[in-house]
């Protein structure tokens, strides 16, 4: 019961965030100097033609009224029909989303598994080989720009070694191996930074836990080392979970650049098109989706941490 109430509270707060982000987004997209009518109809269009276009598409109404309409639509699960391409925005997003999601999820899995493992191994032997290697490696991982790493990887693995395709995309329906061949390089170049970030956080948090009084108690009572370490990991996890959730959100942002480098037909192509064509509805839909992903990721982190730390359960 307490859990249900706490979750409900978080969801409500998240909805509030979505509303505010939605409004900011709405105002910002519409504050640009040129009207989409100009772009759709071309430079030769008359003032009347533009006025007609704006009236038909509801662009002549007040911002608030437009926002209200849009919210009502979103609440019904519709994102409208692009007045530039005439295509359904939701369908457009559903087309592009699996591509981006596939890359981001793969990168996230790499980041969590390798970042966690590296940080743990480094924390268990301070000053050891893994610790020193990881300290050196994470600095490099944190400093390499992902797009540059992408270009380097294309050069090495696609051009020189010819192991992987230099770009493009094949869906999972084309076979797992083919799919992974296309996803591997984008996901890896996206993941490197976050492997380093999560390794650092895991190491710092676990090292601090291992120095804590209750770990000393566990050792003073003769608990086997394996158990001491497993419990310490549970204690050390909450900040790592929070950072992983944030990283998941940021990865969507970085994926846009990576997708451009690898010429992947994901959300970035749709988003860039929407921006250059003043396709407000598509733009709103995509950014709204990013916001929702961010909020959902953080909400999941809170829930996971409630499971890990009983103090958060009763404090709710």
């Amino acid at each position: 019961m307490v859990l249900v109430r706490a979750v409900a509270g978080r969801v409500l707060a998240s909805l509030g965030t979505l509303l505010i982000v939605g409004l900011a987004l709405f105002v910002l997209t519409r504050s640009g100097p040129s009207s989409p009518a100009r772009i759709v109809l071309g430079v030769d269009a008359t003032v009347e033609q533009i006025r007609d276009f704006e009236r038909v598409n509801g662009l002549d109404r007040s911002l608030l009224a437009q926002y209200g309409d849009w919210l009502a639509q979103v609440a019904r699960g519709e994102f409208g029909r692009s007045f530039v391409t005439g295509r359904d925005v939701a369908a457009e997003i559903v087309n592009a989303l699996p591509v981006t999601l596939s890359i981001v999820l793969t990168a996230f899995a790499i980041a969590v598994v390798f970042g966690g493992a590296l940080g743990t191994a480094a924390a268990l032997r301070p000053g050891g080989v893994v610790d020193r290697l990881s300290r050196f490696g994470t600095v490099i991982g944190l400093s390499i720009p992902a797009f540059w790493l992408s270009i380097l990887m294309i050069r090495v693995f696609a051009v020189d070694l010819r192991w992987l395709p230099p770009g493009g995309y094949a869906p999972l329906s084309a076979g797992l191996v083919t799919h992974l061949q296309f996803v591997a390089m984008p996901a890896l170049s996206l993941a490197v930074y976050y492997v380093a970030v999560l390794a650092r956080m895991t190491q710092a948090s676990l090292q601090e836990t291992l120095r804590s009084d209750h770990v000393r108690t566990a050792r003073a009572m003769g608990l086997p080392r394996r158990k001491v370490v497993v419990y310490a990991l549970v204690n050390a996890l909450p900040p790592v979970v929070n950072l992983a959730a944030l990283s998941f959100g940021y990865m969507f942002g970085w994926a846009l650049i990576i997708e451009q480098v690898f010429n992947v037909p994901g959300l970035s192509r749709a988003l860039l098109n929407a921006i250059s064509q003043r396709d407000f509805l598509l733009l709103q839909g995509i950014v709204f989706l990013f916001t929702a992903v961010f909020i959902l990721a953080n909400l999941s982190a809170d829930l996971v941490n409630r499971l890990l730390d009983p103090r958060q359960r009763t404090a709710a």
């Binding site: 120095r211 009084d213 770990v215 009572m221 003769g222 608990l223 080392r225 158990k227 009983p310 009763t314």
Partner: protein, 321 residues
Amino acid sequence: MTAPLIDIQDLRVGFRAGGRRMVEAVRGISLAVRPGEAVGIVGESGSGKSLGMLAVMRLLAGGARITGGRILFDGEDLAAAPERRMAALRGRDIAMVFQDPQSSLNPALSIGRQIVDVVVAHQAVSRGRAAEIAVDALERVGIRDASARLGAYPHEFSGGMRQRVLIAMAIACRPRLLIADEPTTALDVTVQAQIVDLIAELRRDLGLAVLFISHNLQLVAEIVDRVVVLYGGKLVEDADVFAIEDSPRHPYTRLLKACVPSLTAPPGPLFAIDGAPPRLGAMPPGCPFAPRCPRALPRCAAEMPPLTVEDGRRLACWNPQ
């Protein structure tokens, strides 16, 4: 005289202080405890009392390590025992409770689970049977309705209750030696007395030997048979508790006794010993207390007095009272 349960011989603990230089914080302490005996270890911060006992448990951290001496427990030298052997002894034969009960329990695990873990680590019993042992231990330390509280988490207990839980964890496997490192320092005064009474009671009922570390001579005196006074990593006086109370001979012991405010004496300014304990790495060649000692002779600063034994009292002083 029965054979000692633990016989610490010339124990030395050092830190690495920049490069190869070692700084000694425990400088050759010898101390034997018989089965069932309670010994108080008293001294200021930095006297080496906690560090010495952590060394006995082989739980030294932060670059400290045993640099010399032997720790004979039942004739076995713990200073040379492998870590696996120590893990088996800890909690089963020697247990330790620490100063801060707020942070000494794992906040993520129920207290039942934490005690059961200790029991199954040392005894070949099922977790169900171990839970019964845990309930037993909790009831013994005065936690009522223990079986209903097994699932409770540390943050649901007060500081004093947490210290009881930690003591229950320590005695669950019936160790022969309990090391208590200032177990009452972080607690309210009324709770302090309860915990001290509890340790005295457990010692009587279970036949535990107790090493009780404290900076409070009066508190320790209530439950121990013998008091060992440490200063600057050296043992300066060791005598029967009544002898320490009535006729302390080392000037430091006398001053330490004067530091505890009395309820019966007329109110006045609190007494404090002038000066500060010597810094690690800057130990004077002679008696470490000489710079603060009101009875210091010229020779005190130059030469460390030997530990003499007289009428069961050990004393290291050139000019005792």
